[in-house]
Chain length 287, copies 2
Amino acid sequence: MTQKNDDNWTGEVDELLRVGKGFVLADVDPESTPGYDGGKQGAEKDLDTGARELDELQERLFAQSRGGSATASVLLVLQAMDSAGKGGIIRHVVGSVDPQGITLTAFKKPTDEELAHDFLWRVEQRLPEPGFIGVFDRSQYEDVLIGRVRSLAPPDEIERRYGAINEFEKRLTDAGTRIIKVMLYISYEEQGSRLMERLDRPDKHWKYNPGDVDERLRWPQYMEAYQTVFERTSTDQAPWYVVPANRKWYARLAVQQLLLGALREIDPQWPVATFDVEAEKLRLAAT
Amino acid sequence: MTQKNDDNWTGEVDELLRVGKGFVLADVDPESTPGYDGGKQGAEKDLDTGARELDELQERLFAQSRGGSATASVLLVLQAMDSAGKGGIIRHVVGSVDPQGITLTAFKKPTDEELAHDFLWRVEQRLPEPGFIGVFDRSQYEDVLIGRVRSLAPPDEIERRYGAINEFEKRLTDAGTRIIKVMLYISYEEQGSRLMERLDRPDKHWKYNPGDVDERLRWPQYMEAYQTVFERTSTDQAPWYVVPANRKWYARLAVQQLLLGALREIDPQWPVATFDVEAEKLRLAAT
């Protein structure tokens, strides 16, 4: 991945945040801003600059797929504890892209119909088509996170799922999808103050759910479940990135960089016309 | 509809562009900018101002629906001849809104499965849920536009569809959806130069399709089909708006105003908490 040259960047997000061998979640500092020292003010400007590049790369990706043979797509998977900022990423990073090139899915508690199928059934239906950037707000990983913490499935079924996910993702990447899996990592204290802010502001009450505190009480079990997810499913073809997210501006910048990195690697090209351009000019001019 | 007070606005788009009794498409000037005299420069600033209001109204609409009982939603239907600027509206007007509150559907040539059902079947599946702004890039109206011009269905079936659409839309509005139907109206000459620009620029070739000229050759039949659509389906509950679109900046401003008008009329409110806020504060503070 080639990082954009910019004074504020001191390292490559793709390397710094990637979950590799021996990764320990507890060692990550949610306050940190790996690879970036531009601060909040620099981040605003750099996010704008990145948005412009993302815009062009996305249009190329989309255009390329219209040419017929290009199958490349991108899938951004967002996982996090409540209030970690998934919504902000979607609004401020994904939201800067032409909506015509995005397919966004917010996975909720599975319906009865979804539960009647294998856990990957509903996911399969929401995969991005060639040329699209798919965004998953929660994903198949809920089935090994809340699924594990809340014992929503027997232990051997949970165990089976890690392998099933790896095979599933392998198939997607083989077919041309670049998968970026992001966990937004906030501290327990930060979550406490963000939830309290929702309670303090009547215009934020709708974002609060008493169930949020129930899940918060299981914080250590969730961190353990995430650690296991990282160990079992951070593969070469679909690595995990743990993004420190106490500073929202950093998390947004970092996820944007990951998207940019994936698109730069795809390096999408304007497709060559499948028709005779000069003949069409004449035909059009005659109208 | 209350129009935002702004020096550049001289009239209400909702009134000026609405298709009423006796409307004649041929009398509309695609170069005109009804109700607005701020020019291209003013439009840029006013579009930004509108985007901020749209952003807040959309969030309220979404929040209100989470409260449980509010059923309001918005459906923006976009129809136009090729190159009239639907994509630009989606990118610059819809694109300014949080993608989490938008469901966008681009209706293509119907698939075999879709053709095996009534023409409204595929549309029904893409209606916005409460709290959402649905956007249709093409719609059920294709089935009485290209359907009519290209005789894709027998005349009596085309005839049946106008009534079926009106009943369908009545049901939607009764259930809480505000429908805004927009035809972007460009001149024949303007389409000619826009298509030629696509041919002139290699990075725009992918947007060009030789079939575009085939349709262009049927321009008068399309205008007639639109005129019939307006006469038969511009109803009180779901009126049509013909938006002069030779000037892209005006079309964007005007569609934004129509969206704002619909949302202001819904006047969505932050929902009241369904839980005991003080009790939750204590519970959270104890974690």
